[in-house]
C-alpha cells in the first residue's frame, strides 16, 4: 500500500477538562475527497487546527506524505503542501483578488523576498494567479477590492488562496458556509474537480452535499472518531444514525 497523503496517530488535545481530540487516528490516501462530519462541538475544526499546526497537540503524531511534521509550525506545513481554508472568511480586505492570489503564488515561489523588481516582472506568477481565479469564476471581479465582493465570491477566494500554494492536502473548513444552495453546488463541483494530486478533506453540515461529493466520510463525536467509511457504509451504520443522521437537525 502506498503512503497516505496525510495521517495522524494517537492525536490528543484537551482544553482544561474538556477533551476536544482523543486518540485521533486518520489515514487519508492520495486523491480522495473526504468529508468530515459530526454534530456541533464534535471537534472538527479543532482537528483541522491540530493538523495545520495552529494548535499544538498534547500528544500524538502527524505525518504528511510519510514525513513527520508534528513539530513544524503552520507556515512550514503550508510550504510542504498542507493547506487549509477558514470557516469564517479570513481574507485581505483591501487587496483585490488578483493581488491576493499573486501574493500567495509569490510566497510559494519565494520571490516575495525581492523588493527591487516590480511585480510586473513576474508575469508567470501573475498569469498563474489569474488562471486560478478564472477556474473559480473570479476573473470578472479580480480587480475589485476583496471587501466589496459578494459573500459567495469571498468563499471562492478562500479556496483560490489555498490553491495558489499548490497544496498536496487541502483542508476546507465549511467551504460553503453561508453560501446559497445553488452556488454551494457549484463550489463543491469546483472542489471535487480539482486535480487528483490533491487530497481534499472538507467539513460540511449539509448531508446532500456530503453524500454527493465525498468519496469517503469520517464521523466525529465528542472529540473521537466514531466511524470512517464510504458514503454507503456510513448511511447504513446504526451508530451514525443514532448520534447524527437520526437527530432532528442537520446542523
Amino acid at each position: 500500500m502506498s503512503t497516505p497523503a496525510l495521517s495522524t496517530r494517537g492525536l490528543n488535545k484537551n482544553f482544561g477538562s474538556l477533551v476536544v481530540a482523543s486518540d485521533i487516528e486518520i489515514e487519508l490516501p492520495q486523491g480522495v475527497r473526504y468529508a468530515l462530519i459530526g454534530p456541533n462541538g464534535a471537534g472538527k475544526t479543532t482537528l483541522i487546527n491540530l493538523m495545520t499546526g495552529m494548535l499544538k497537540p498534547d500528544g500524538g503524531q502527524i505525518q504528511l506524505g510519510g514525513e513527520e511534521i508534528t513539530a513544524l509550525g503552520p507556515e512550514a506545513r503550508v510550504r510542504r503542501g498542507l493547506v487549509r481554508t477558514f470557516q469564517i472568511n479570513s481574507l485581505f480586505p483591501h487587496l483585490n483578488p488578483l493581488e491576493a492570489v499573486t501574493l500567495a503564488v509569490c510566497e510559494r515561489q519565494e520571490v516575495s523576498r525581492t523588493w527591487w523588481k516590480p511585480i510586473t516582472a513576474y508575469s508567470a506568477e501573475v498569469d498563474e494567479a489569474y488562471g486560478i481565479l478564472k477556474t473559480l469564476m473570479l476573473a470578472q471581479v479580480c480587480y475589485r477590492q476583496t471587501r466589496e465582493l459578494a459573500y459567495g465570491q469571498q468563499r471562492l477566494l478562500e479556496i483560490a488562496l489555498a490553491l495558489a500554494t499548490r497544496p498536496k492536502v487541502l483542508l476546507l473548513d465549511e467551504p460553503a458556509a453561508g453560501v446559497p444552495r445553488d452556488e454551494s453546488a457549484e463550489l463543491f463541483a469546483a472542489v471535487t474537480n480539482l486535480s487528483q494530486d490533491i487530497t481534499v478533506l472538507f467539513i460540511e453540515h449539509d448531508m446532500d452535499f456530503v453524500f454527493r461529493f465525498a468519496s469517503r466520510i469520517i464521523v466525529m463525536v465528542g472529540g473521537r472518531i466514531l466511524v470512517e467509511g464510504t458514503p454507503d457504509e456510513i448511511s447504513a451504520d446504526p451508530r451514525v444514525r443514532e448520534v447524527y443522521l437520526g437527530s432532528a437537525h442537520h446542523g
Binding site: E75, L91, H94, E107, R108, W115, T120, D127, Y143
Partner: protein
Amino acid sequence: MTSTDGALAGPQQYLRAQQRWRAIEIVFWLSLLLPFVVTPNYLVLASQVAITALFALSLDLILGYAGIVSLGHAAFFGFGAYTAGILSKHGWGEPLTGLLISGFAAGLLGYLMSFIIARFRHLALIMITLGFGFLLLELANSLGWLTGGADGLQGVKTWPLLGMFKFDLWGVTSYWYSLIVLFILFLVCRRLINSPFGLSLRGIRENAVRMRAVGAESRAHLQKIYTISAAIAGIAGALLTQTTDTVSLGVLNFERSADVLVILILGGAGRLYGGIIGAIIFLVARDQFSGINPQYWYFPIGVLLVVVVLFLPNGILGGLAQIVESERWQRWTANLTPWRKKP
C-alpha cells in the same frame, strides 16, 4: 483603483497601469522646485519640510504598508543625526559618505531591534517602540562626552557638497540636497512597494493570520522592512545634522516621534505621498501659526487632526483618492484612461 470596466483588461496590463507614473505625480515633483523661484526666503523651511517628508516616508513603509505601529521612530532619526554629527566633529564632514554611513548605522540598529519588533503587534508594539525611544534619548543625554548631552553636539562642520557647493545661510544648497535625497529615496520606496515584497507587506497589514496560512515568511519580511525604514529615517536625521550643523537631544525626543505620526496620519498612510503632503501642511502651518502665537500653535494642528480623522479616515490623500475613484469622476475621465475603456 477599483473599476468594474477594469476587469476586461488582462492582468499584466492592469498591473502595469497601476504602477505607471501619473501626470499628477510629475506635476507634484516639479512643483517642489517652486520655492526656489516663488519663496526664496523660505528655503530653510523648505529643506526642513523635505527632511521631515523623508522621515515620514520611512514611517509610512512600516506603518502604512506593513502595519507596524511605532511611537519611537525618532530613535532612528536621532541615531542617524548623531552619527553624522559625531563623524563631522571628529574630522569627517563629507556629506554624501556621512549620509551613507549614518543610514547604515541606523539600519543596523533597526535590524537589531527588528528581532523584537517582528514578534509583537498593536499595543505591545506601541509600548516597546515608545520605551526604546526613551531609552535612546536618555542614553544620548547621559553620554555627554560623546553627544554633548543637553547642550547639544558642538563643532559640527559639514564640508561643501561634492566639494563645490557650500551650505549657505539661505538654504539654497540645503534644499537642493534634501530634495534630491528625498526624491532618490522616494524612487527606491516606490519600487519597493510595487514589488512582490511590497505586496506581501500589504498582506501582513491586511491579515497576518492568513499570511501564515499561505506559508508566508512574515517575520523575515517584517525584519527586512523595519531595517530599511530605520536606515531611511537615519538618513533623514543625518540630513538635518548636515544642513544645520548642529545636533541636539531634540532629534531623539518623543515629540518628534509623535509629530511624524501626526504628519503621516494627516497626509494619509500607505500612499507614499501622504508623508510628503503631511509634512508640507504640518510645517507650513507651524511656521505660520507660531508667527501668530508662538505658545499655542499646536491648537490649530489639533483641530486639523481631529477634523481629518473624523471626516477623512484615510488622511487628506485618502479623501482625495476617494473622490477620484468615485463613479462620477470615473465616468468623467473615462476617455482619458484608455485601458479602462469598454471595447
